[in-house]
């Protein structure tokens, strides 16, 4: 049985061209609360240079009153990663945004358990008893 109708070639990001994995970063902050103070300073001073350097990321800024400030990254595998940046300095927030930017949507737990993802199972081939040299005395 041929599988032509359902076979789809697997993507190999980076072999031809690299598709950046972080699609969108959303910033939520509160205009009045104190925990958002660092976030507000970040938005005023650091955000626009960051957006300039990363034109491939869509950046959304939304006030969210009476809630702690959060940074949400949306990735190409439709997953999201959220980090709360309450009571943080603008520099720390810049680090966190960089972390979100550099990430893919793959969960950290999965990545820890399977650090190597490859289409080739082994380099030298699976061992076969029929192809080893027989023991000679």
């Amino acid at each position: 049985m041929t599988l032509t109708k359902t076979l789809i070639p697997k993507a190999k990001n980076g072999v031809g061209a690299f598709v950046f994995s972080c699609r969108k970063i959303e910033f939520n902050y509160c205009e009045r609360s104190g925990s958002s103070y660092g976030m507000i300073k970040y938005l005023q001073n650091h955000l626009i240079p960051f957006a300039k350097i990363n034109p491939q990321i869509e950046i959304v800024v939304t006030p969210r009153p009476s809630k702690h400030p959060i940074v949400t990254g949306t990735y190409m595998n439709l997953k999201q990663k959220q980090i709360c940046v309450k009571n943080k300095n603008p520099d720390e927030i810049a680090e966190i945004v960089q972390l979100i930017r550099d990430n893919t949507g793959v969960s950290t737990k999965k990545r820890f358990k399977k650090p190597v993802i490859s289409t080739t199972k082994s380099i030298r081939g699976i061992w076969s008893p029929f192809h080893t040299r027989p023991h000679l005395i």
Partner: protein
Amino acid sequence: MRDICKTKCTFHHYNILVNFSMFSLVKNSIINRNILPLLLRRSCFVTIRSFSNTNTLYIEEKNKIIHEDKKDVISPALYAFAARMRLDFSDPKILLQAVTHKSFTNTNLPPNKRFKELGERAIELYITEYFHMKFPLLHTNYLEKIVNIYNGIGTLSTFGSEIGLKYVVRWNESTDLFSSSVEDQSESTDENEYLYESRKIFNKIGHVMAQTVQAIVGALYLDKGPNSAQKFVKDYLLSRDLDIQQLYDVKTPKKDLSALMRRLGREPPISRLLFEAGRLTKEPIFVIGVYSDTEKLAEGFGSSLKMAEFRATRNALLNYYFKEIKDFTLPSAIDTRQKQMSYIPTKVCDTPAS
């Protein structure tokens, strides 16, 4: 607030979308006071999206805003998409047209059908050319199948969803524009499920995304030239990994191998048992090698002699027909006289049509 609505769109925009409430509690809110002037000074395009729905005055304002809203506005998502795929057209409206499906009527731009027709042919050309050179001895029906896979809705829609095209295409879900065959194709057998990225590629958005990918290639071809389109196809579509040998479907490999050896003028193939273990047990293993007069063509294993021979002859056929060439020059890459002089074409395939 009104002045902000009428902010001029300039050519180089930012990918920033700022939401602010129409009637925020704090009159001089931080975002209004600090960020918007900064953005205005850099003549950014600021999209307005209000999030509070409780105020009645807000609703009146919102209705007025909709009338002033422009059509064919390039969203931040589209700018981000263009930067991500490294597309820089001479006119941003070209990209906007390329992602506009014909079902999207709230626009002054024509749909992407024309781009799609051109792009579809261009993709077919570059993919056919590549595999034609790469597998010189392959049967033509398998070559056709490969091209159909790469240029098919499955691959293109999966590719589209992987680059974030879903949030960029402009389309409307309307049943009359999509044929009923869409629903028939949506069934997928369980054994092939692992081959899908997501199961929802054969639905309407899948069709739209596949057409949009073709339209983008077409737009690149028109705007930037064929080399640019070829680079796109090579970078994004040909870099995808497909196990070609999975496609090979042979019912009588022994007969086919004999015919092949006869055609090549070589000795007829003979199977020889190389290794075996557990012949009289429940799980025997036999390893059979297929030879053409002392030259081993291939070997195959199996739990019976027949099975092992089947696999061996099949592997021999695979080794011949699916032989891969690693270094080759594509004919479409010959654009200078010097390259024309130094071009060495590969031998034309002599595999008869099946």
